[in-house]
Amino acid sequence: MSIIDRPTSTGPRYGALGTSPTRPDGIAKVQGTFEFSSDISAAGCLFGATLRSPHPHARIVSIDLAAAWKIDGVQAIVTADDVPGQLTYGLISQDQPVFASEVVRYVGEPVAALAADDPEVARRALDAIEVTYEVLPPLLDPELAVRGDFDPIHPDGNVIRHQQIVHGDPDATGAIVVEGTYEIGMQDQAFLGLEAALAIPDPGGKGIEMHVATQWLHEDRQQIAACLGFKEDDVRLVLGGVGGAFGAREDISLQVHCSLLALRVNRPVRMAYSRAESFLGHVHRHPATIWMRHHANADGSIVKIESRMVFDGGAYASTSSAVLINAITLAQGPYRCANAVVDGWAVRTNHLPCGAMRGFGAVQACFAYESQMDKLAAACGVGPLDIRLLNAMATGDVLITGQPVLNVAPVQECLRETDALPLPDEPVGGHARSDGSVDAMKLPGGAGRTADAGDIVRGIGWGVSIKNLMYSESFDDYATARCRIEDGPDGPTVFLKFATAEVGQGFVTLAPQIARSVLGIDRVELDQIDTQVGSAGSTSASRQTWMSGGAVNAACELVRALIFEHVAAVHGFSTSGLFIDQTDVVDPTTGRRIDVAEACAEVSFDETAVYRHPETSEIDENGQGNCHTAFAFVAHRAVVDVDPQLGLVKVVQIATAQDVGVALNPLSVMGQIEGGIAQGLGMAVMEEIIQIDGVIRNGNFTDYLLPTFLDMPPVVATLIEQPDPLAPLGAKGVGEPPCISSTPAIVAAIRDALAQAGIDAPLDRVPVRPGDICL
């Protein structure tokens, strides 16, 4: 497919919806002048640093600050005793202390923070704080929490949420039964731009301004204000340049610490995490253990699913309860299923806290149900594509929660279009050179030349997934946007204002496209992204194109109505029937066209709109209820080369067809698809945070392996464009689906290769390690 749009005379004009204009921040980013949160400083600012627990579970006996205070350059030290407002914070339940006071519950939990004249002084001063701990036995096995076999490690108890789903006939059975137990490791978001913020106290200390990289300015503000004992209006947040997010910036990290220090010294304070600290300072993807059993008829049609899911939430709740609900309510995958019995647990342990990461519960469930689908296909004697086509859900089908799928649901189209994409044209190792040799770089293991081409086996695997879009369970995640038109010497300009966190996904490109299409004015400027406008909700759950896009669209439509009134009054048209075509207001009665820029000369308009999706409901004790807002689907086909003896894998190609509704910016959509697949590949064969006895062992980029240029294969993609009538712009969110089913597709391809080599390896755990293949 052609990714790059050029201006054409027939299609949408360049810069409008459906084209791929360049990012407004693109030139600054390639020239190094774009200001990330870690680049922001202020005259006379101090540098903050955080003291963290070395123990997964311990009682704090005493904290002695005397030696730290003696270090020249230390200006402030704060502990739990210095928190003026609420002592705890958190996204869903406020169960996480700003600073640990009596007990520490994970390695890396903040105990104190200080500010000094220089970052090196700050780091040295941390070492001088003497904390005496009484080490306690840690809770590290989630099953102990499920069974109630460990004393509560938190006043809220060790079970964060327990929810079952019972749907249809719980006793239904099928002629074919397949089951398995699957494990998903802890993945890190590994955004490149480390956590950083600048806090600037108001004169007199009655308020504070914070520049910070986050996913949701207003949620941060609410939590910061509560802990500082301020009114929300006294806390102003400005989005610092965000170097990626992927869920890790949904919870606050250093925001309250940095604010407390700035208020204490009445000077600006800057905090910036190192990579090692970042691994401790944000939540991760939940490790999970999922048992699943499918009952099917002899032809392979699913009769019932049963599942038990245990999610390790780590020390604090974060979004664990919502992650769990995604996992259990999407346990059937994108397949029809009339009967279900699912039991889900999200529990507390003394591991690193877990919360949001791209895919949010759907990732864990998908690895289990897609592994099951291949088992089912084998048991029924049909192919992996056929079993999926046979069971694929469609619009109108009812989920195991009793909720009907009202969105377009082109699951079969995703499968068929993926299947139609060409397989790699190169054989194992690439086309042979004239001397008969092959390029070692194209073999598993790469430059080390550890594999012989003759030993390599190629496999193909499938993955398909369903993802809920927007927030669920009655949450009102509305979005706000303001649109105004001001005339100027160069003609009228549209100014858009919103609090939507731009984390790299490209909303700053999309929002002007919406304005150009709705208003017919090409000059669009973006105001600063901050809390001086209503909330936009979080940049997560694949929701901003739909939600903030809906709000920008609504605000622009309000302004367009004012333009129509103005044009009608000036030219004697009726307002009814006026429309915008390209850059003209058109009166269908007379056929007259008025250039919008001309129509807006010497006038100004200013409107603010709030967009809300239809209400969702809670689920009952049997997990029944219309808890989700909307759904998107995607299929992936992976081709891998495997060295069965050495356990090495090279992913050769990923083919995908994704249900996008409408591609409002095809280049951005492709970027989300490829980027998401890279993270799915990481989950499949590379990425895992290792904790031993509650201590992280690989919190750095040398030992936590991220996909590089050499690990990431070419992606061939088809966009399934069926506009969703329920979406304000017809477009679905596209961020999460690529990373969900790419993981099981890759693992299925490895299993396929091994089967051809006569090896029956279950590969029921991700990431797949060499030893899982060859030992």
């Binding site: 921040d25 030139i27 190094g32 170097g243 280049l667 980027g675 890279a678 240029f709």
Partner: protein, 163 residues
């Protein structure tokens, strides 16, 4: 040694470095002492390439180089690639072909791609991947970056044959 001065030649200009300590790495000196914030720090151990600069023509991770060891050498940073507002062909291609999302890895990648195309004007797909494998991008999955690099190589080839 506090307050001692040494001189670094960065982007063709001599810069006096004050208040640095002897072991301070080049990335921190560029950013915190000289105010050249274009080089980014993401891993602090030479794994991600975000802080890539040229030292006497060699592409290095500035987080792994002692600043003092670059005395007497020519350092080129992202700020030295092209004047602000007049992007290079590589920079322009990154923007046009969707190679930029969050942009944190981008300055380092721009340095690496310029270096690659100087040494290898017509890189194949595998060469591009191997040469840039020291630069991690978490957003793009690399596809649009490879596209941008190939587009620049083609455009330069066209320029050469047309000249």
């Amino acid at each position: 040694m506090s307050n001692e001065i040494f001189t670094l030649h960065v982007n063709g200009e001599a810069h006096q470095v004050r208040d640095s300590w002897l072991g301070e790495n080049l990335m921190d000196v560029l950013r915190d002492r000289l105010g050249l914030m274009g080089s980014k720090g993401a891993c602090e151990q030479g794994e991600c390439g975000s802080c890539s600069v040229l030292v006497d023509g060699h592409l290095v991770c500035s987080c792994l180089v002692m600043a003092a060891s670059a005395v007497g050498q020519q350092v080129v940073t992202i700020e030295g690639v092209a004047p602000v507002g007049s992007p290079s062909d590589v920079q322009q291609a990154f923007v046009e072909f969707g190679a930029v999302q969050c942009g944190f890895c981008t300055p380092g990648l721009i340095m690496a791609v310029h270096d690659l195309l100087e040494r290898t004007p017509d890189p194949g797909d595998t060469e591009i991947r191997e040469e840039l494998a020291g630069n991690i991008c978490r957003c793009t999955g690399y596809g649009r970056i490879i596209d941008a690099v190939q587009q620049v190589a083609v455009a330069r080839r066209t320029d050469r044959s047309g000249a």
